[in-house]
């Protein structure tokens, strides 16, 4: 299941996902996927979590085989008064 979070002006400022497989993040993140992937490349080791907290882009992808979940949002596009925890 994929959810998107939208500003009153109709822009997506966040997405979240749960399911048995990981969604295609190149589609979900659009032009931000390259920044996400490049940040992950710098990390050593094998993990069941991928967390990118850049100045604007936040991506959190977790879970394990059969059960994945994650979210992404842009700090700069969060509507006034909407905390990041809204994207869940």
């Amino acid at each position: 299941m994929i959810r998107e979070y939208v500003t009153p002006a109709g822009k997506v400022f966040g997405v979240s996902w749960t399911g048995p497989t990981i969604p295609d993040l190149s589609q979900l993140l659009g032009s931000y996927n390259a920044e996400y992937q490049n940040t992950l490349r710098a990390k050593p080791g094998r993990r069941r979590v991928a967390v990118v907290h850049n100045p604007d882009l936040v991506v959190e992808n977790g879970g394990h085989m059969r059960a994945f979940h994650g979210r992404a949002y842009l700090e700069s596009m969060l509507p006034a008064g909407v905390p990041p925890e809204t994207v869940k």
Binding site: I2, R47, R48, E60, N61, A67
Partner: protein, 416 residues
């Protein structure tokens, strides 16, 4: 769920571009009726945490990676090969071996139309492994699982990864990519996917691969990747991983054991370990600071204790672009206490809770040292707990396999 501005009902295949327009679019090991006694076989398989496999003179492992040596054979024969430095992973299911290491001509498995079957596993860090399913006998210690479906990772004599597997990801299909020669998935499940992949609308995990190209297909549960432990003739209800405790500055190598079966021999009783059942997704609950985090799991294939985030724990994240990015870097070690819990797997359903004390030290300091095994490296996993390999030191951790009984307790459960 809280919704700021409503939602769009979108299928998983919908294209969403962030920042652009929205919505465009068996159970009787101790039963008295047992008339025959299972043979006592060697059920103790050595495991090690070390610098990993060697490629071109360089050791390519990473911190807190647990390895073992697996022997695979042509089915029904004594034509075998042993492969060292296979990652022991309780967070996945099935044996996967990097293709360049496989010298045996293991037979492809095929569907009803005689087309070979491919398997895709995706990881949260956007890496994936793709390759054909073949059958092999799998030997560890004195145990033998016959004709087990396993994956050959990155096989050159097989179709390329279909877009549904590779899109948005990066292949991790070499020994250097993996820091291992393969992955031994010995988690709480019998198969990597289960009934979902045997249904009429399966996820993009199994593919049928005629020459025209690979497309997702349903695969019978018995033909999916299998946890080899549950296919052993005995000692097949689960396993335990037993590692010694190590010091706060880590160790350059650690030797321990993976013991097959739970309560089946004199060396694998649960003893005082507290068994906690898992939910349908393999999760249990970890309570920290009065808050219950229901998406918690135990995973020897995670190379740290990944839990919550910096604001919640008060632990500073390590500097970006340091070798410790993604880990926590407190100036001095910080002690934590949490409670794991789940229903008693004996069916009575009473809640079982266990306190866990742990410490988190500066990962940049630790990872810059000569040591490679640490019980006190941690990092972010917002809203959840991933009890990775550091948790296993100084404990016997039991993995009860789904549908398999330990006395009256039925898996999936874990215990420590």
């Amino acid at each position: 769920m809280r919704w700021a501005f409503g939602r769009c009902g979108l299928a998983a295949t919908a294209v969403l571009l962030m920042g652009l327009a929205a919505c465009g679019g068996d159970g009787s090991s101790s039963a008295p009726i047992e008339s025959t006694t299972p043979p006592v076989v060697n059920n103790v398989q050595p495991v090690v945490v070390d610098y990993g496999p060697t490629v071109n003179g360089q050791q390519v492992g990473y911190n807190d990676a647990l390895y073992t040596t697996v022997t695979i054979c042509m089915p029904g024969t004594s034509t075998c090969q042993s492969i060292d430095h296979v990652l022991v992973d309780t967070g996945s299911t099935g044996l996967r071996i990097v293709s360049s290491l496989v010298t045996l001509g293991l037979p492809f498995t095929t569907d009803a139309s005689n087309n070979p079957i491919g398997n895709c596993i995706q990881y949260v860090d956007s890496t994936y492994q793709w390759g054909p399913i073949v059958k092999a006998d799998v030997q560890m210690a004195g145990e033998l699982a016959s004709s087990v479906p396993i994956q050959i990772v990155g096989a050159s004599n097989f179709a390329a990864a279909p877009a549904a597997c590779s899109a948005g990801g990066t292949p991790a299909e070499t020994v250097t990519d993996l820091g291992a020669k393969g992955i031994l998935g010995v988690g709480n499940y019998r198969q990597d996917c289960g009934p979902a992949c045997a249904s009429a609308s399966p996820p993009a995990i199994y593919f049928t691969c005629p020459t025209a190209g690979c497309t997702p297909t349903e695969v019978a549960v018995s033909a999916q990747l299998q946890n080899p432990v549950w296919l052993f003739p005995q000692d097949n209800n689960g396993l335990s991983i037993v590692l010694p405790q190590i010091g706060a500055t880590g160790a350059v190598s650690v030797s321990g054991n993976m013991i097959f079966g739970i309560g089946t021999q004199s060396d694998n009783a649960l003893g005082t370990a507290q068994a906690q059942a898992l939910d349908d997704y393999g999760y249990f609950t970890t309570t920290y600071n009065g808050v219950a985090y229901t998406q918690s799991f135990i995973d020897s294939g995670s190379n740290g204790l990944f839990f919550l985030d910096s604001p919640t724990t008060g632990l500073p994240d390590c500097a970006s672009n340091s070798i410790a990015q993604g880990f926590y870097c407190p100036t001095s070690p910080v002690n934590f206490s949490a409670i794991t819990s789940g229903p008693n797997p004996n069916g009575a359903g009473a809640k079982v809770s266990v306190n866990v004390a742990f410490s988190i030290a500066n990962a940049l300091t630790l990872l810059s040292s000569p040591a490679t095994a640490f019980n006190n490296v941690g990092g972010d996993m917002p809203g959840a707990f991933d009890w990775g390999l550091p948790f296993f030191f100084g404990r016997s951790v039991f993995i009860g396999i789904e549908g398999q009984y330990t006395g009256t307790a039925v898996g999936p459960y874990w215990a420590f």
